[in-house]
Assembly symmetry: C2
Homo-oligomer: 585 residues x 2
């Protein structure tokens, strides 16, 4: 291979190409990302080493067992697959019919990258990270001489760096080469927020395992690290629990819509391999009416009507409080489930949103809707369940109402998920809670598409035009405008705000529209959560700077098999930030 | 085969099943649809006859040539494929784990349908229908003895009847049988409006031929009959015109995003075979700036900035008026294109929306933005193009501004497409125009998902929360609430309202989200346009009655390969119109 620099005319244009976005990454690395104007190829026979030892060729997909080196090895294989097999020719990201000015000539004089040296400085495999101890930082350099080096303290950091590395490259229009346009590259990258996730509701509508794994792919490509599976709700119980088989046998929508223990393990392992912590929520004591299909004596107000009196959405139903049978049931449930998920995650979500006091008028052990009566019972309930979570080696999460509505005292290890908007996130953090932000005004990706409730003609007139409760649609720009810690100056408060999760409540989402609703809008939040809301100059990141890179990233998502929606028409992607597509100040 | 009626216990339940929607059709047949409670199987060896002659077996897909009998033959093959190969087990449409109560027992005593006798009473093949002369009516009966008869005046009517026939059947959970639940069936069905379509914009984003054909599938399943392809706009010219090759060579986004003459023919033939008239629009004299890529002297204001002064969306650009080179160009364009499409359609759309007078300040032959100067030039322009359209044997269409903004006099054969809402449709019809309704407040399926224009931080504050111009999202309920002729009592005015078209402008739509945005919302309008806004009792059709059938129909769309969005969660589809899913008066 001739290591010969090619610099003149073409590369002056490549500079423009870089400005057009061909040198763009999503999320943008920070604090350091410098790049040049030199194009390099990458060899299909690239040699990848880990701490000096040859690791993997592009045809070796590595082991699936969980260790630092195996995580790195399989990560390398996937990155090379994404470069060589799931890449794209970026004609849609350069001016019409000008691609030849942007991609390098294959004249034998261009340098190829034929080695990637990975240094993992710790042996800690972070396949079971908690928000506090996960280190996802990495350094990546690519010289004009074609030497690529990636180093990190953790295998997860290496995975993040490999994702960045893979995003540097394009397929050449000849189909015979793959290239980058912006060497030399120097990246020192680390996340702003440790918690960057998506919540998927598999109870209102079911999602096959393949959908969940594809969602994990999208998260990892976006350098996001949490998949929160809201696995049950009052509508269905798709989670197979071997010690309580009736739960899914009677509560799943159908026996073809069940997650077996092997499915759960497979999903979690898939996440671990990609640096995505998959954790689960069994919402309680509300949002769990479906338990009544198998164990009617354990719940109250199941499918009680009118639902608006007893819950937020049909069917209603809550676990009885102060009931030993419920506690026996939950003991058995958690004894079954928690040990199986604990090897792969540090979290378990006990829910706790929208509990309706009216339900407990029907609870023979309670017979009251008085919060003064209910609160101590709920305190005991939460204490008991959280002890079980902790005993399994996991940290509990709750929805914010447990704290803000019910004044339940929770442990300092509990992460509070906030969705109600306003100042809730900051208030919770200021009062000492660890918080993740799912503000429905910004992060509810299901919103703004109309109602799933239908209305009689008499009622329809007053409900016209049939909007859902949380419109407008959260466009990528709206998602991108949000920073969980915006305006927070107190350091302790700020450090309590761990990050955020985009929510995909699934009343009108299933396999058919999951990808187009999730992506790239979740990725828009992914950049804010990784790179921060402020750019190098301390200003809010601009939609105008972001759009070309998000157009590029969306093309990568599509090339890699995710059905992500376009954010602009091709005329805009061809002429990134052309007048009209972008409105400068 | 034992023709033996099976009536007792199971079939009493089947009545409930029918109420649950298993006997539902979309759009609902009218004026006559009666059905019973008897389940029948359908034989895979069903013999289908056309006017007494054996037509096709389920393994013979028929000829692709265009004749009444070949249209019927291939329609039969597709209907049988949809029944036997692209069907579904309707577990999601009956109460949880109650499917066995709804599907027939395969005990050898149940009657099978083993013949379908089709009667075509006219030899007119309506593969080139116009709104005035297409007859899509049909009669369909299925007796309890398993005799199926379908008759129509036209091959298109037979196709509509075959669609209905195919929608009667479900796959049995055994995988070994297919059945209906509601014999005897008597249907006399005919459309309310003759024009029931979708407009797809292939210029803002390109759609591969497969996407267009799949859209035709969705239209035919919805008994809709028009696909209006807005094939060019100022952004791109994907239409290959052999006599003017530079148009697409320079104006397509890329050479992989071009419709060849063979593609166009293939799309139209695909439509003809399915009773869908595919017609095209080359929008002019505005919305055509891209011609300037190949012929800069023919357009003015191409990509002029700020775009807001010169057009509605970048890039601007309009054909020069009063210019012989433009007329020569258009003569050559139409001489090439029109004879190729005319065998398959009766229409050509010359556009005419959003023409901006400011553009003509830059036209050396005009030098004016005075509508008094421009109007007669536009009149001549329209007259000339419409003469060309007519000379090719086609009827012109225009957007409403040609009439309502520019006071251009158009022929009585011209169909006016209205999008501006308010009373426009009714006003145009009252003044004697044939009108189709694309009211943006109801029928713009792209709306309500946020902006594609990006904003600097300075401007973003005033643009928050980044809504597009035409929100909210047009939910299926909103689409379904609209009747183009609502409130019109004058018979002549009413007859001028031909129907409507749902619009899919593609600034933020491409292959990845086309299906989920188009379906089943377009189908919701399809029912109103076919079955009418009023039900048998003269009341507006209710969302509550419609939702179970639309849930069912959406499952069919998915089973047949369209990525249609869910309109409700499975809990609602399982318990159709359960409390909470439906709010009765």
């Amino acid at each position: 291979m001739t290591r010969h620099l090619l610099l003149p005319v073409v590369l002056a244009v490549v500079h423009t190409a870089s400005a057009q976005g061909l040198g763009g990454l999503w999320p943008v690395p920070q604090p350091v990302f410098t790049s040049g104007e030199t194009s390099l190829l990458i060899s299909k026979d690239i040699e990848v080493t880990l701490n000096g030892a040859s690791l993997v060729s592009s045809t070796n997909h590595g082991s699936s067992s969980v260790s630092s080196s195996s995580l790195v090895s399989s990560g390398v294989s996937r990155a090379l697959d994404n470069i060589f097999s799931s890449n794209f020719v970026p004609w849609m990201l350069v001016p019409r019919y000008k691609l030849s000015s942007y991609e390098p000539a294959l004249n034998g004089t261009i340098v190829s990258i034929d080695s990637l040296a990975i240094t993992l400085t710790s042996n800690n495999s972070t396949f079971k990270p908690t928000a506090a101890d996960a280190d996802e930082s990495y350094n990546l350099t690519v010289t004009e001489a074609g030497e690529a080096q990636l180093s990190s303290f953790s295998s997860t950091g290496v995975l993040r760096g490999l994702e960045t590395f893979s995003q540097l490259f394009y397929e050449h229009s000849s189909g015979r080469a793959w290239y980058l346009v912006n060497a030399p590259i120097d990246i020192q990258d680390a996340p702003t927020y440790p918690w960057r996730g998506v919540m998927l509701d598999t109870a209102r509508n079911f999602f096959p395992v393949a959908d969940i794994k594809r969602t994990i792919d999208g998260l990892s490509y976006s350098k996001m690290n949490k998949l929160h599976v809201h696995v049950t709700d009052s509508q269905s119980w798709p989670l197979e629990v071997p010690s309580l088989p009736e739960l899914s046998a009677k509560g799943a929508y159908t026996q073809s819509q069940v997650y077996s223990p092997a499915d759960i393990q497979s999903i979690q392992e898939y996440g671990v391999a990609r640096g995505v912590d998959v954790y689960f929520e069994i919402d309680m004591p509300g949002h769990i009416g479906v338990v009544g299909e198998a164990y009617p004596d354990l719940v109250v107000a199941y499918n009680m009507e009118p639902y608006t009196t007893y819950c937020a959405e049909p069917p209603c139903g809550a676990l009885r409080l102060n009931n030993s049978n419920v506690e026996d049931f939950l003991g058995e449930l958690f004894d079954d489930v928690l040990p199986r998920v604990a090897p792969y995650t540090s979290y378990w979500h006990t829910g706790g949103d929208e509990l309706n006091a009216q339900d407990y008028l029907f609870d023979p052990d309670v017979n009251s809707n008085d919060t003064a009566v209910l609160q101590p019972l709920l305190q005991d309930f939460i204490d008991t369940q959280h002890t079980r979570i902790r005993n399994a080696g996991l940290n509990p999460l709750v929805w914010e109402e447990i704290v803000s509505t019910w004044n339940v005292t929770i442990g300092s290890d509990v992460v509070v998920q906030s969705w109600l908007g306003g100042t809730a996130v900051q208030d919770l953090a200021a009062s000492g809670h660890k918080v993740i932000d799912s503000n429905y005004n910004y992060y509810y990706l299901d919103c703004g598409r109309g109602q799933w409730i239908t209305w009689s003609n008499d009622l329809a007139a007053s409900d016209f035009p049939f909007n859902d409760w949380c419109g407008p649609t959260k466009s990528w720009e709206l998602v991108y405008s949000h920073d969980p810690a915006e305006g927070v100056t107190d350091a302790a408060t700020k450090s309590n705000i761990l990050g955020g999760e985009l929510a995909l409540w699934s009343e009108t989402i299933d396999s058919q529209n999951l990808d187009s609703l999730a992506w790239p809008r979740a990725s828009a939040a992914g950049e804010i959560l990784w790179s921060g809301r402020l750019d190098d100059s301390g200003q809010n990141r601009s939609q105008i700077d972001a759009a070309p890179r998000l157009n590029l990233f969306r093309q990568r998502l599509v090339a890699r098999g995710l059905g992500a929606s376009p954010i602009q028409m091709e005329w805009c992607t061809l002429q990134q930030n052309a007048s009209g597509c972008a409105q400068p100040a």
